[in-house]
Symmetry: C2
Subunit: 363 residues, 2 copies
Amino acid sequence: MANKYTSLDQVRERIDELDEQIQRLINARAECAQAVAQIKTQSGHTEADFYRPEREAQILRQVIERNPGPVSGEEMARLFREIMSACLALEQAMRIAFLGPEGTYTHDAALKHFGHSVTAVPHGAIDEIFRDVEAGFSHYGVVPIENSTEGVVDHTLDMFLNSPLQISGEVELRIHHCLLAKGDSLDGIKAVYAHQQALAQCREWLDENLKDVPRIAVNSNAAAAKMAAADEAVVAIASMAAAELYALNSIACNIEDEPDNTTRFLVIGRQSPAPSGKDKTSLLVSTPNRPGGLNNLLKPLADAGISMTRIESRPSRRAMWEYVFFIDIEGHKDDVNVAAALDVLADRSSVLKVLGSYPAAVV
Amino acid sequence: MANKYTSLDQVRERIDELDEQIQRLINARAECAQAVAQIKTQSGHTEADFYRPEREAQILRQVIERNPGPVSGEEMARLFREIMSACLALEQAMRIAFLGPEGTYTHDAALKHFGHSVTAVPHGAIDEIFRDVEAGFSHYGVVPIENSTEGVVDHTLDMFLNSPLQISGEVELRIHHCLLAKGDSLDGIKAVYAHQQALAQCREWLDENLKDVPRIAVNSNAAAAKMAAADEAVVAIASMAAAELYALNSIACNIEDEPDNTTRFLVIGRQSPAPSGKDKTSLLVSTPNRPGGLNNLLKPLADAGISMTRIESRPSRRAMWEYVFFIDIEGHKDDVNVAAALDVLADRSSVLKVLGSYPAAVV
């Protein structure tokens, strides 16, 4: 980059000018947010309508699309998330329930999605979060749904069987694995412990650096870290948070083969977002147990050219249901093709519940 | 506020315009930050000089001073902290060591001070953080120094006795107390447990709501929460994080009498910040044990009209030192009056170590 400034004073003066303009514009934006709230209140909307997930997703996508840099699109989206969060807070003190304790990935996901101007309240169990949002005490809840190392969070799926809540958003977080040990070298290491998915996700690194050391799959990465803390000849694959919790050294970080190792969370609420242009719809479907039942169920989606991004089966806890499937598809339930396919699906299944249509995670 | 917009579409169009301008200006600001880095590199500065605590403090003070709203000065400063953090990250991947685990107040303090674009690395002990920064592995460290409920963090003070590190900043966090219980009402409660300072800080609330219930001081609020978890007739005063950790209900929150209940943290680094216009200086002083020793020591400061904001005495671990005092004063060691007073102080004390001059916490 050619430098058009020759002295620090000169460029700092320019930064001060820019800061003043940025500040003025952020305050002007906040005034607009107040105007939106005023118009909505006049036209009889309730407080719940002040936050519109689809509108926020559209703004963030636009920010990323038009971003020329040098700040990266992802960082710029993060800054705008915070600016929108600060503007919204002037109109509505948003209360977000999340699966605690503080400092967990779910906490990170809640703040990533709603920004830091909300009040994020930790809860001890997933059903508590559903009850809290159902009762209207919190505006939204954030719960884990797919953990790349521990698989699907069954308890969250089960809650949807009986809850009237809607899925109103999804959040994806990048997760990194570290190699943790009591000592600070790999000499004398006799075993690597981790959840089997973490072992699989770090296979290349392990092949290169701990080729002949046995890999032992345990219940969770946290359990592996606990074992490493008790035995100097054991290393564990786990998060930096686990390193801290069990006073372990991090010998290597980001050892996962795929740099895009993510964990997914759902935002649950009482409202249903309008289409944002790039949405997902989550379905709960059950079908009688007969040959070809599942194929028969999925055919309307395939016929309509609708992509399925996930399917999970769960044992039903109601006698009348043979199987329960949780299915994520691309598109919004109000999209013409999706609505038509859902009609056909409803005819073929004993139960079809639309858990929500919501903007796909932006970053 | 008079509303100059009549339709949502109209105001949303205006928001989109503003967002585009804000985005353009943030990228222009990032380009300026790159220009600063380029000039510094050309003039032989090292990477360590890219982050200037005094310059950041000045910018944030200016932001708060000129802020007309509607976004509050504190929120606006938070947004600018994040914008500066994103700009700096383009030039230098900042690594910040903090007293973990993740999700603690020290973690919050580190992110409040440096923004979310840094890599914040948890450590298990305060001495590890000093070593990590001394070795140049992390750029800065964040450690607790005064905890309003647990008092001064002695271990941090002790580390300064032998460390070559400088204090390069301070962070203040507001801390809230909650009343936690296994049940969800105050009926049948036989005792309130908490650290004695927390009991004192919530006296008014307790007088009003639990007048005849005995108050029992224990070692820490976390210990109190643990006891409440074991006995339904006990309530504890502690943080929301403790509620989560011990699966307790929060019966009431923000029950402290003073809403400005804060905890203080120090930022430690290898460089000494230049004056920012509103600074503090931390001193370590020892004096021979003779009558009037302390008065004699403090006189030069009083004579020069320099305010002392804190004084703590610690037993010296060196035989030659009778007492060690940690003193915070207003002003920068390079200020003329401070420099002169420090000269006098040096003559009168057996040891005088300037632990650092740094910008006073902005918000």
